[in-house]
Amino acid sequence: MKANGGNAGGAPKSPGPWKAAWIRLQRQRTAMWALGFLALVVALCVGGPWLSPYTESQQNLDHVKEMPGWSHWMGTDQLGRDVATRILFGGRVSLLVGVVATAVAMVIGVVYGLISGFFGGRLDSAMMRLIDILYGFPFMAFIILISAVFGRNFILLFVAIGAVEWLTTARVVRAQVLGLKHQEFILASRVCGAGSGHILLRHLLPNVMGQVVIYASLTVPGVMLLEGVLSFLGLGVQPPSSSWGVLIQEGASNMETAPWLLFFPGVFFVMTLLALNTLGDGLRDALDPKTNREGS
């Protein structure tokens, strides 16, 4: 969605390349289907709960573990709550975590990569050394540790996941900057008296955004998976509020008696991840001129 926003709206300052990429993306049928599906899921999760006659935590102990039917399209759970409504509420949380944590990761990664690539020299090699060292960290263990000892802190979850996912972005951005910074248009800008800040923000940043959008669209599903893992382990979003990870965990513990509790949240989660990954692949083909050639 983030990727879509940046793409469909287009950056007003350089409509050319973005528009061209949008046209290339439109030619890819699977990517457009994925985009349409994502738009639908987002619309449902944002608007759906208002249309539903049930609320997220409204229990009805007379209708526990009811099969999917007319009054409850996706059945009810062990406390008689409407599964469809809970999926929509949970989707809000899962999607929000995905987008916000990705945004955190992208901001850190872009700033780090821009600085490292642009200033080069000692600073660059020190910053890249640090990334090498960070790659050796057992990050999953750190994230579990942070959520276990601080617990129930939503903002911390964003920050912890975002703080992990920026490493590759930083590397990609740096490599792009290294390729760009000696080109003529940068030199021309320098000759005109532009400072480093101007060059970084006005010339380098727009040029690396294509790669950043690709990476962002592939990071969102990764982050959503991470949130799912944490919620599944009981370390993420706490009941009674839900996320798709929480719902899948509840479904897994009731799967013998009420398999639809695992089925519907699982399908929503997998389909959304699939759409995000497909869209990411499509964006890569549309935005990265290197892979265009082969048009696989």
């Binding site: 000892v149 599944f232 899948i248």
Partner: protein, 307 residues
């Protein structure tokens, strides 16, 4: 070569020291300590306990002492499992994680590499599209969805294996299958893209021009280079798998290192959490080093040197 390995080992020591320190500081920054959860404990008992374990001292003294005991391999004792040292806990859990993770790694390679190679050789054709569609779906199915389904079907419905626990000698099958199938999707995608790219290289064309059989070209010439990106992925993956998957060990109730780490984190068992995090880091460093050496051996264009 030796200088390269040495510089990597030094970097590894930095990583492990940092990991131990960060683990300790995260746990220290949180409210409460390892003994604050136990109920009915008079204040003076808690104080005495904390004095015995040195928890009354300033944090930098505690951190220094812990680092020293890890450095000298005189491993500290657990706060929660009385009488157990961190080394004994790792020695008990690691075989479980290693068995499951090792088999999972093998399964993922055995499924993923042939599937990816088939897709690359039939690029654009039905085999390619079908394999890649399945693989793309595969990377989207999380272990916490597949795991319960596998346990339900093979464990509870068919009763071929225990749905959870670590009792029989066949208990590694279901968790290893879950992990292996999931990882094989990414392995297949990487194998395909690596092999496709390599098959377009000049030296492959030269081999074709010389009249080398297509089978030989793929097996002998192309494959060596094609598995470079795959190896980059497999290094950290192998480290993660053999150190115990957090989700799978929870789903299948395995007494491995992943679950041990979660419970030590929840109970603020400082020493065990530090020891396990350090052990995970050591595994990552070792596997990354192995991958680098393997890549240099496979690709004559890579020369190892300390950066």
């Amino acid at each position: 070569m030796i200088r390269f390995i040495l510089s990597r080992l030094i970097q590894g020591i930095v990583v492990v020291t940092a990991v131990i320190s960060i683990t300790f500081l995260i746990m220290k920054a949180a409210p409460g300590g390892p003994f604050s959860k136990e109920r009915n404990m008079p204040a003076y008992v808690q104080e005495n306990l904390e004095r015995i374990y040195g928890l009354d001292q300033p944090w930098y003294v505690q951190l220094g002492r812990n680092l020293k005991s890890f450095a000298t391999l005189d491993l500290p004792v657990s706060f929660r499992l009385k009488g157990w040292t961190v080394g004994e806990i790792i020695a008990q859990g690691f075989p479980v994680s290693l068995t499951v993770g090792g088999w999972a790694l093998l399964i993922s390679i055995l499924i993923g590499v042939p599937a990816g190679a088939l897709a690359a050789l039939r690029a654009g054709q039905f085999e390619d599209r079908a394999t890649m569609a399945v693989a793309t779906l595969g990377i989207c199915i999380p272990s916490f969805v597949l795991g319960p389904l596998v346990a339900l079907f093979f464990g509870l419905k068919l009763r071929w294996f225990n749905a959870s626990g670590w009792y029989d000698s066949s208990d590694w099958v279901l968790p290893a299958m879950t992990l292996g199938i999931i990882c094989s999707a990414a392995v297949a995608r990487l194998t395909r893209s690596g092999l496709r790219e390599t098959l377009l290289q000049d030296y492959v064309r030269t081999a074709r021009a010389k009249g080398v059989a297509e089978k030989m070209i793929v097996m002998r010439h192309a494959f060596r280079l094609a598995c470079m990106p795959l190896l980059n992925y497999l290094g950290p993956l192998a480290a993660g798998l053999v150190s115990g998957s957090f989700v799978t060990e929870t789903v299948f109730q395995l007494p491995g290192l992943g679950r041990q780490f979660i419970s030590s984190a929840l109970h603020k068992d400082y020493t065990v959490a530090m020891g396990l995090a350090a052990f995970f880091a050591v595994l990552i460093v070792v596997f990354n080093l192995l991958v680098d050496i393997l890549q240099a051996w496979l690709n004559p264009r890579i020369r190892l040197k300390d950066s």
